[in-house]
């Protein structure tokens, strides 16, 4: 085989894939190197203090509540036995199916002045001023925590399930009571998993766009959107985006730092442990705690959505709705197949090449998952607009045509590739790693090579991973709001865009049906995930 085949083409392909992430990120970061003094003086004076304050309150508040909910529920479910434990074990993950922005408008609709809760309470009280205002920073913290606690719950539950009761026993053999054992052994041992879940929550909070929009709570993401679509200053949007990216990197670096020299590979193997029964009122108290979180975080908002949708179902279930649904499904499907195909190519290149440089390139290409969608939207739009101008100038179309690629599906798909490549890559790569070198060699030894090898060995073994990749990206694109909103072709409204438009007007009931559709799709991977991880 020629050098061209073995060397140039793999690298060319890998670089091309990595560019999908590098270019948007580079565009945004370069703007930080060339700050515009006029924009910055305005930002520093009027915008940034508020943004930093709001972001800090949001991150601290959400982290605290998420840790409290996620860790305590995980400990209960993993170590103790109480009525309903098997149900809560997986049902507590259901909120993952509900995007935070859906949870947000459902809760605001429930708890605001005109909502059912206050309306029901009002006749019983002379004065309703004691009732807290849901559209506030504590309301935002509560809603985001209810939406994001499953990340911490899932990871710490798995950690506790493998070593929770053992940790208590070791403590007891060394003279520690059970509660001392929890604080001094189980919690520190589970720290890396808890921290892993918390990092996901912090990233989701930083990237969140729809929830803060419902609450009218200004953070970096909403500031980027407003700078672009309300002030029409793409430069300001870029500058704010560069700050947000730096914030994300600070979080990632802090996470790496906190690990230090300690590798948390489990020392030794633990046999599955029987659970400690919680007898009498303690058991029912545990049931009550788990049930109330599940009610608040999933059941009640879901019932509220269904109620709204039922009010005016005949009108809402119209050709308009079918149009949003069709665009959402087709967009998600195209993006899912495209992103997974690219992930497959990348994983295959890494496997064949196997060099450190290639692995690092793959790491860069999949970095986009940490970058908020609003940032990627800006980062993709700018180079596409520049390319458009070049094409128009080169073809002499000035005056006749204003956009070639701008506002097309292609630009949107590029942003999705950058954002979700990591999702597909991780499942494809996991499957790829299950194919050992000896599988390869055994097949070659039996006379298969080239396409036959790919068809007879690789594809059957990878099909599970590819399916998971397509499914995960499909659901993620379905739920995605900022990229879709900011880069969609004109009038190309999807379900999530519809939810945004209706909630921006405070028309909760109109947003309910598209929101339910999104939740139903989101339930598929959540249930698969919970069934898979159901630790006996």
């Amino acid at each position: 085989m020629s050098r061209l085949h073995t060397l140039v083409i793999p690298w060319l392909l890998a670089c091309l894939i990595a560019l999908c992430t590098i270019v948007p990120l580079g565009v945004v970061m370069l703007s930080a190197l060339t700050p515009d003094p006029a924009i910055w003086s305005h930002l520093i004076e009027f915008t940034l203090p508020e943004l930093f304050k709001n972001t800090a309150i949001m991150l601290l508040g959400v982290s605290a509540v998420v840790l409290l909910l996620g860790v305590s529920l995980a400990w209960l479910v993993a170590v103790y036995d109480f009525p309903g434990r098997r149900l809560f074990n997986w049902a507590l993950m259901l909120p993952l199916a509900m995007p935070a922005y859906v949870m947000a408008f459902a809760q605001v609709g429930l708890l605001e002045f005109t909502g059912p809760v206050q309306t029901w309470l009002r006749p019983h009280f002379d004065d309703m001023r004691w009732f807290p205002e849901i559209r506030s920073s504590w309301g935002l913290v509560l809603v985001m925590s209810l939406a994001f606690y499953p990340y911490v719950y899932l990871l710490s539950r798995n950690a506790f399930a493998t070593m929770g009761r053992r940790a208590l026993e070791v403590g007891q053999s060394l003279g520690l009571s059970r509660s001392q054992g929890f604080w001094r052994i189980a919690l520190p041992m589970a720290r890396p998993w808890i921290a892993g879940g918390l990092i996901l929550v912090v990233m989701e909070s930083l990237a969140d766009f729809g929830t803060v929009a419902v609450f009218n709570y200004d953070t970096f993401t909403s500031a980027i959107y407003k700078a672009w679509f309300a002030l029409f200053s793409l430069d300001t949007a870029k500058q704010i985006a560069s700050l947000l990216v730096m914030l994300v990197f600070v979080v990632l670096v802090l996470e790496q730092r906190s690990r230090g020299r300690r590798a948390y590979a489990q020392a030794g193997r633990a046999a599955p442990q029987p659970r400690l029964p919680l007898a009498g009122w303690r058991g029912w108290a545990a049931t009550l705690a788990a049930a109330s979180v599940l009610l608040l975080a999933f059941v009640i908002p879901m019932l509220q959505l269904l109620y709204w949708a039922s009010l005016d179902f005949a009108n809402q279930f119209s050709s308009d709705f079918l149009g949003y649904a069709w665009r959402s499904v087709s967009l998600s499907l195209i993006a899912a197949v495209l992103v997974t195909a690219i992930a497959l190519v990348l994983a295959y290149l890494v496997r064949r090449q196997g060099s450190r440089a290639m692995r690092n390139l793959a790491r860069v290409a999949t970095m986009g998952y940490a970058i908020p969608g609003t940032v990627l939207a800006v980062g993709v739009f700018v180079p596409v607009a520049w390319l458009d101008n070049q094409i128009i100038a080169a073809m002499g179309w000035q005056g006749e045509v204003t956009a070639v690629l701008k506002g097309t599906l292609l630009a949107m798909l590029l942003a999705f590739v950058a954002r979700f490549l990591a999702v597909a890559y991780s499942s494809v790569d996991t499957a790829m790693n299950r194919i050992t070198r000896s599988h390869d060699e055994a097949a070659r030894n039996l006379g298969y090579s080239g396409w036959a090898l790919l068809r007879r060995v690789y594809l059957p073994l990878l099909s599970g991973g590819l399916f998971t990749g397509v499914l995960m990206v499909f659901v993620d694109v379905m739920k995605e709001m900022p990229i879709t909103l900011m880069t969609r072709p004109f009038g190309w409204d999807t379900l999530s865009v519809r939810v945004y438009n209706m909630t921006a007007e405070g028309m909760w009931d109109q947003a309910a049906l598209p929101a339910i559709a999104i939740v139903l799709v989101g339930l598929i991977p959540t249930i698969l995930l919970s069934r898979q991880r159901d630790v006996a």
Binding site: S173, L176, P188, A267
Partner: protein, 350 residues
């Protein structure tokens, strides 16, 4: 001398299933005991009952003269002063060796604690690894850290749950010798649980053989091998074959290979049909012997052969023969019996 540990008719159940049934034994200060049995025989459950991790369904446990567990009440596990080495070591991955070992010494002052940690690490030979993290150590080293951690608070009793099962065979043998020396040098009273009889023999002063939740026999290894109390123990410990015999006198039995006299268990009457256990070392190869047996199979073990032989009646026996005597399969060889311990059980109706 009063017993340090005493189990009185201890029982334990999971639901309807009786896991440990009416188990009693005593352990003297400074003794090392071993609970031996195949998996699922209840040996680990007994250990967990003593540690305080499982409630009792019946009986009592006494430690150093005080009752630590009964059906009605029990001392919480963390107040029993019983140390434990777990099968998976359960070292804390977030702490280094020194911090792991010092974990149970919260009541001591800082300098005292450090001195105790270093002293224990010295004992297990890991003083140089005080700053290392568990994942940086080999399996055998992790095992010794686990031992040091359990020994540091000077427990009254140390429990070891399959302590060597995660190690490879060579290391297992060396470590079991080392651990015995460490425990003896510290005067520690200990109980270990294992399914490996070589490990039990190498480590323990007393061995308890368990089967289906019952303690079959509680005795020193020598007695267990040469005076098994039940057919199960005779079968489980060591190798051998049962051959039919007839009791011919108060101390004698007639076998196919002749009449043998020694301390025959008293419960037999003259004329009783019995099965006599022949260990491979009871059957001695002797070219001068008039009795011959045909070689059916052989296993070369380096210093010796283990021959499977067939007697004239078709009965099979095992013989341990020095390795210079290399006989072909099918060849008849001369044998005689050297029965120092006559082990007989009433014939089972077949």
């Amino acid at each position: 001398m009063s017993a340090l540990l005493e189990l009185q008719s201890v029982s334990q159940r999971y639901g309807d299933k009786t896991v440990v049934n009416d188990m009693s034994f005593t352990l003297q200060q400074g003794e090392i005991a071993c609970l031996l049995g195949s998996s699922g025989c209840g040996k680990t459950t007994v250990l967990r009952c003593i540690a305080g991790f499982e409630p009792l369904a019946g009986g009592e446990i006494h430690l150093a003269g005080r009752r630590i567990a009964s059906v009605a009440s029990s001392v919480p596990a963390h107040l029993r002063q019983i140390g434990m080495v777990f099968q998976d070591y359960a070292l804390f991955p977030h702490l280094n060796v020194q911090e792991n070992v010092g974990f149970g010494l919260g009541k001591l002052g800082r300098s005292e604690r450090e001195a105790r940690v270093m002293a224990v690490l010295e004992v297990v030979g890991l003083a140089a690894y005080a700053q290392a993290f568990p994942h940086e150590l080999s399996g055998g080293q992790q095992q010794r850290v686990a031992l040091a951690r359990a020994l540091a608070p000077k427990p009254e009793l140390l429990l070891l749950d399959e302590p060597f099962s995660n190690l490879d065979v060579d290391l297992r043998e060396r470590l079991s010798r080392e651990v015995r020396e460490i425990l003896k040098s510290q005067g520690t009273t200990a109980i270990l649980v294992t399914h490996d009889q070589h490990e039990a023999f190498a480590m323990a002063d007393k061995v308890g053989v368990m089967h289906q939740g019952q303690l079959q026999q509680w005795a020193p290894p020598y007695e267990l091998y040469h005076e098994p109390a039940s057919r199960y123990v005779a079968d489980f410990i060591g190798q051998g074959a049962f051959v039919p015999g007839k009791v011919t006198g108060p101390r004698c039995v007639t076998l196919e290979l002749g009449e043998y006299c020694s301390a025959v268990p008293r419960q037999f009457a003259e004329g009783d049909e019995v099965d006599v256990l022949l260990r491979p070392d009871d059957v001695v190869h002797d070219d001068a012997s008039p009795v011959t047996a045909k070689v059916l199979g052989k296993v070369f073990r380096g210093s010796e052969f283990l021959y499977t032989l067939q007697l004239a009646s078709g009965q099979q026996v095992l013989a341990q023969v020095p390795s210079h005597h290399n006989h072909a399969i099918g060849e008849p060889i001369g044998i005689r019996l050297e029965l120092d311990h006559l082990i007989a059980f009433r014939r089972q109706p077949s």
